[in-house]
């Protein structure tokens, strides 16, 4: 007991040291000095589906383009350095900034009260609005006031999400990319999409199936996010932005990207009055951690449901695949073997994308629940099939011969003699696969399923409490998977006892 306590104590101390070491110490020299010394500035953005902000040039994907790329280059030129983009998931730009991964983040980041607690904002460089987009044939939705009872898509962590969440009776679907919501809208999976005007202008306007509904709503400011202690850098960036505005360079960039409108005239006020960059959009209020539990638990429920149902599919389909592979003639054995190899040899994520976003191209549109069930189940079936096969091969050959010599048919012998023994051998593996599937179910968040991981990333992105919520979410996963492995171990023991 004493030894156990000693080890525990060491563990806690060790963890403390690791966390301490992982937290970046405050930079001693200012970031501005570092940029000059380095010869280039590092700006954080998410170029994945990031048009028209920052995205790979369709003509030469190794180059980034976008209005923020132009802006970054102008800023860099004013500082006498080069601009280098640092790729980061949009959701985690601010944590990455705090960690010191880059000098500042500039990627359509809206000024909000919540964010202002964590970062310093430059003067705003763009005034955005939220644009509602619907299908061309949609006549009942004319503005955001008509969204009650409708399913509306938006991007995780955006102000549009906050607006939608604040409206009663709207079924909000959160995406992590900007392409998918409009795709789903065109396919009829959504009734409307609310997103920042630049996104709508780039992705929705050219789509003949979609149209803008109503005037832009809300109004907010994009600004550069800077680490709290980088006051010097903020001052310099404000000067540079004011100069770019005065010289008309900013306007030229926006005109180039079709983003200039009368609203931008108001930017002048900010450059004259340096400290009036308050957010214009209402924040969802700060809430105690307790208040997130209902949503997280609901997400956990969805996770359990998806895992259990797709594991059942995997177990059943896996058995069929094994029997086909081992006992059916051509071409079935060949088909089963190919299925297993293909599913094991390609990433689950790709399979999910093809099921959910790919199949609609050939006219098959699955809802997220069905796509998640099929995606996970069909993938794991390949693994279960291999486990069964190993189990069957591990049953001594004499068992089948003894059964046959008693006059049993092959089918009866399989069912009554071979499979019960094979399953027992495969059981530990199947259990482990279930636990793995349980965790892999987090991948279905990419196909608009709001399960535990998706709930976490939504909550974390809108509250920026990645650590707290992350620990709680991890504990929820562990709390569910651990009893599972205990139960499995007991089953295994029981079967072993029966055998003796």
């Amino acid at each position: 007991m004493r030894r156990f306590l000693g080890i525990l104590f060491l563990l806690i101390i060790g963890t403390g040291i690791i966390i301490y070491a992982a937290v970046p110490s405050k930079p001693k020299e200012g970031t501005l000095d570092k940029i000059k010394k380095r010869g280039h500035l590092l700006w954080g953005a998410d170029a994945e589906g990031g048009a028209p902000y920052a995205f790979p040039d369709p003509k030469d994907p190794s180059e980034l383009v976008g209005f923020e790329v132009d802006l970054a280059q102008s800023i860099a030129r004013e500082l006498g350095v080069k601009a280098v983009e640092s790729q980061n998931a949009w959701d985690s730009l601010i944590p990455a900034l705090e960690r010191g991964d880059f000098d500042f983040a500039m990627n359509g980041i809206e000024i909000t009260e919540k964010r202002k607690e964590r970062v310093l904002f430059s003067q705003p460089y763009y005034i955005y609005t939220e644009q509602l987009v619907v299908r061309k044939d949609e006549n009942s939705i004319k503005s955001v006031n008509d969204l009650k009872g409708r399913t509306v898509g938006t991007l995780s962590g955006t102000v549009a999400q906050d607006i939608l969440m604040g409206m009663r009776g709207v079924n909000v679907k959160i995406y992590s990319g900007q392409v998918e919501p409009y795709q789903d809208l065109a396919l009829g999976r959504l009734d409307a999409v609310l997103l920042d005007l630049p996104i709508a202008a780039y992705y929705a306007r050219p789509n003949p199936k979609l149209k803008f509904a109503g005037p832009p709503v809300g109004e907010g400011l994009y600004a550069i996010a800077i680490r709290k202690n980088d006051v010097q850098l903020k001052k310099k960036l404000d000067e540079v932005l004011a100069k770019l505005y005065r010289t008309g360079e900013l306007k030229r960039i926006y005109e180039k990207w079709g983003l200039w409108n009368n609203k931008q005239e108001k930017l002048a006020a900010y450059f004259r009055n340096p400290d009036k960059n308050a957010a214009t959009l209402e924040e969802s209020q700060r809430a105690p951690v307790k208040s997130f539990f209902p949503m997280l638990l609901k997400g956990a429920g969805v996770t359990v449901l998806i895992s259990v149902s797709s594991m059942s599919l995997a177990i059943g389909l896996g058995l069929i695949l094994t029997l086909m592979r081992l006992y059916a003639g051509a071409p079935f054995n060949w088909l089963a073997a190919s299925y297993i190899e293909v599913y094991r040899g390609t990433p689950l994520l790709i399979q999910l994308y093809i099921l959910y976003y790919g199949l609609p191209n050939i006219g098959i549109s699955l809802n997220p629940v069905l796509a998640a069930f099929l995606g996970l189940g069909m993938n794991y079936a390949a693994y279960e099939a291999e486990l069964y096969r190993a189990g069957i091969n591990a049953v001594p050959h004499g068992q089948m011969e003894a059964a046959l010599s008693l006059g049993m048919t092959k089918g009866l012998a399989l069912r009554r003699i071979i499979l019960p023994q094979a399953v027992k051998i495969a059981l530990p593996g199947i259990t482990n696969d279930f636990i793995a599937l349980f965790k892999d179910s987090s991948l279905v968040s990419v196909i608009a399923m709001v399960e535990l991981t998706k709930t976490y990333s939504m909550l974390a992105a809108s509250t920026l409490r990645f650590f707290q919520l992350g620990i709680i979410t991890a504990l929820l996963y562990f709390g569910m998977s651990y009893p599972l492995s205990l139960l499995a171990r007991r089953l295994e023991k029981k079967l072993k006892k029966d055998r003796r």
Partner: protein, 250 residues
Amino acid sequence: MISVRDLYKSFGTNTLFAGVSLQVEKGEAVVLIGPSGSGKSTVLRCINGLEMFDRGEITVAGIELHSINRKRPSKEDAENIRRVRLKLGMVFQQFNLFPHMTVLQNITEAPVRVLGMSRREAEEIARGILRQINLESKVNSYPAQLSGGEQQRVAIARALAMRPEAMLFDEPTSSLDPEMAGEVLSVIRKLVEDGMTTLIVTHEMGFAREVADRVVVFDKGTIIETGPPEDIFTNPKVPRTREFLNRVLK
């Protein structure tokens, strides 16, 4: 009862049999002896359809098995194989009891599922056989809880519960120590005395001499000698038989 005529059999390019013939009459006890690798097991396995053969003909209780050299026998062939298996009981060197079933379940599984017997009737028969071989107390044990000799006796009981017309034994005592071998041999002896048609592969020469009506000597895939046990054991005509007997009786 069992007749093998002009059997050809090869494994890949290795020819094992090139024209083996063998008869077992009803009620007769035939013992196969010979060096290991000489083809004794393969003959038994061909007879009950566990092994395909290339040429020749096997007849069991009037049912004919033809040279079934295809991977997938036709429906008719498959049905014949099954009918033959219902006429024959087979006992393996490795017992091959079903480890996930109790002794009683091992014995009743096939009568219930294959013959469609009621569970009650099957259990009654099973208990009767177990009583005769002194294993009634083990009905609810699992195979892993039994000694080797007990397991092999259960395996015999399992085969007998199907009411076969003949029994095939492939070295039934080779994985047992002498004491346990004795238990098993006395069960087989009793069967032979009761008139069961039996074909036994064994290395127990004393036992062979005692129960056999006829002894068949195998060597390298051919039958080199056959005759009543007194002749084979005291006065073998073929030198290779003598050599073999000298080796094993020493």
